[in-house]
Symmetry: C2
Subunit: 322 residues, 2 copies
């Protein structure tokens, strides 16, 4: 009577695999169902909309989509913390003084030029390796101003599950962010399971310099690429060379990425994370000082895009702390 | 007596796997041994120089390294063949007229400006998708002027084996070419088993344009990135975000890529393909009109780089034709 027992056990195992919820932190609802239906429709070889694994490309914005972005972009807090370490004599402008004092509001009041000064002071004139070492040290030490969590613990649990689910189903998952490519690469492998080579972002000009101790890649002050809005499909083509079939974003900066993803011949899924939960996260869209979402809210439905309403669709926001 | 038979068969299988030559088209010699020793030293977990699979990045130049580049870059033949299709009224310069007449020498005599005109006429003012469709059609039809082979049958068999060997040993293999990224991506998956996302190259500015039929990515006339010389380590950082441990090239345009690869903390292997075989391929280095190799020959040894002498080290140059 060994065989029947084995069969029953095998059957139970198969049933578990078949029925296990790939997105346990997503509440049942239209958006969760739409994600799962889409993935099944492109991965089932018998499906008319089957997509070969090599073409299962999924792209995600980072700030506000995979991790939080309030009260300001986390990369800005990194920049401010670097400016705090400068000698007083280096604080030659209102923006740098505001940053050194940790006064985010005063810094933002200095406008784009002030932000660029803080960016230059914290992100340039050093090698990529030294920069990334300082980002790693900052991630270890710094804590978010309102939650007290490490910044890389402010990733969204439901999105982590979505990344794993997509990869389990043969997708390659990419980050396509307006944030800095060298910055995000420091955290992407551990925080998201995304390899450095699958991170796309904004970047400064980098220069290859041969010094006495050997060659280094130096971060220069000029912008090389602004990975935002219409720049996102351009960067996707540049780095990936294929049109994605799944795109997730949260702001109008992601509009063209979703548009590009969902206007190919293959089926495409557009997902907007909608920040609706002032209790557990933040609530903002049209009026946000960052992560502004107007066009996406107005035109998303006619494009067939889906919205993850954080208050309604997400059972959990952040991963449990240890 | 079934078990001993099975064991013997298993043993024989293991022995075959252990002793099979991973590089059958490479003649026994210093270079082949050095490649295999290096791969073993970075993949054996017991080795002091073990490198984790995620960091096993190998980068290869394309023209003259993975496929031939004589009597001129193959992408130039593509450009010429596109210009041949233009109306006579569009041939507004000596360069365009020379290209349309298929006169490579006269075209080269018009210098860099003439080449840029031919590049503009054949590579810009169209979408990336339309451009790549024309490259695919060209690869199907065009034949190399001296061998009569399809261009993508002029890949080097020993290098194909090296790519497979490295991937079998857990490496990610990338192309890092001075040639056009959109061009190479058309052939890389079939010719080399290299995914589009693992192709790095030179590129023109691309623009996201929303037309009546939906969005397209248009190829514009301005240069976006020149992936040559010191640009290669920069592009490697931009696309891959890690320092490679294996680099293959054939010209001084690859010098900095080999230098960057072999000056990290991890062990690094630098390989120069040396065109020494006038009978089976072409013989050129210091005096070549393309693929010039001076600094690499002068300084390669002191960097510990290895040379694949095509006449001596390669038993076969091109794959067998059907």
């Amino acid at each position: 009577m060994i065989r029947p027992l084995l069969s029953a056990s095998a059957l139970s195992l198969a049933a578990t695999a078949l029925w296990a919820d790939p997105l346990p932190s997503w509440n049942a609802g239209e958006t969760k169902s739409a994600i799962i239906s889409f993935v099944e429709a492109v991965t089932d070889p018998a499906s008319e909309t089957y997509v070969t694994p090599a073409d299962r490309i999924a792209v995600f914005d980072n700030d506000g989509t995979l991790w939080a972005e309030q009260p300001a972009y986390f990369q800005l807090f990194f920049a401010i913390d670097q400016v705090k370490k400068l000698d007083a004599s280096a604080l030659t402008s209102d923006a740098l003084k505001a940053a050194a004092a940790g006064d985010v509001e005063a810094l933002l009041a200095t406008g784009k030029e002030g932000l660029l000064e803080v960016l230059a002071a914290s992100h340039t004139g050093m090698s990529v390796a030294d920069f990334q070492a300082s980002v790693a040290a900052w991630l270890d030490e710094a804590r978010h101003p309102t939650t007290g969590r490490p910044y890389d613990a402010m990733v969204y649990q439901p999105m982590l599950e979505l990344l794993v689910y997509l990869r389990d189903e043969g997708f390659d998952t990419y980050i396509v962010s307006g944030g800095g490519i060298d910055f995000i690469r420091v955290l992407a492998p551990d925080a998201y399971g995304i390899d450095e080579a699958q991170v796309v972002g904004s970047s400064l000009v980098t220069e290859y310099v041969l010094g006495e101790a050997g060659p280094v890649l130096m971060k220069m002050p000029d912008l090389f690429f602004n990975d935002d809005k219409a720049g996102k499909p351009v960067a996707i083509n540049h780095h990936i060379g294929k049109r994605p079939i799944f795109a997730g974003g949260n702001s109008d900066g992601d509009f063209q990425m979703l548009e590009w993803t969902t206007s190919g011949e293959a089926p495409g899924f557009g997902l907007y994370v909608h920040h609706t939960d002032a209790d557990r996260e933040w609530a903002y869209d049209r009026e946000g000082h960052i992560g502004v979402l107007n066009r996406g809210l107005d035109e998303g439905a006619e494009h067939g895009w889906h919205f993850a309403d954080m208050a309604k669709d997400w059972a959990v926001i952040f991963p449990a702390t240890e």
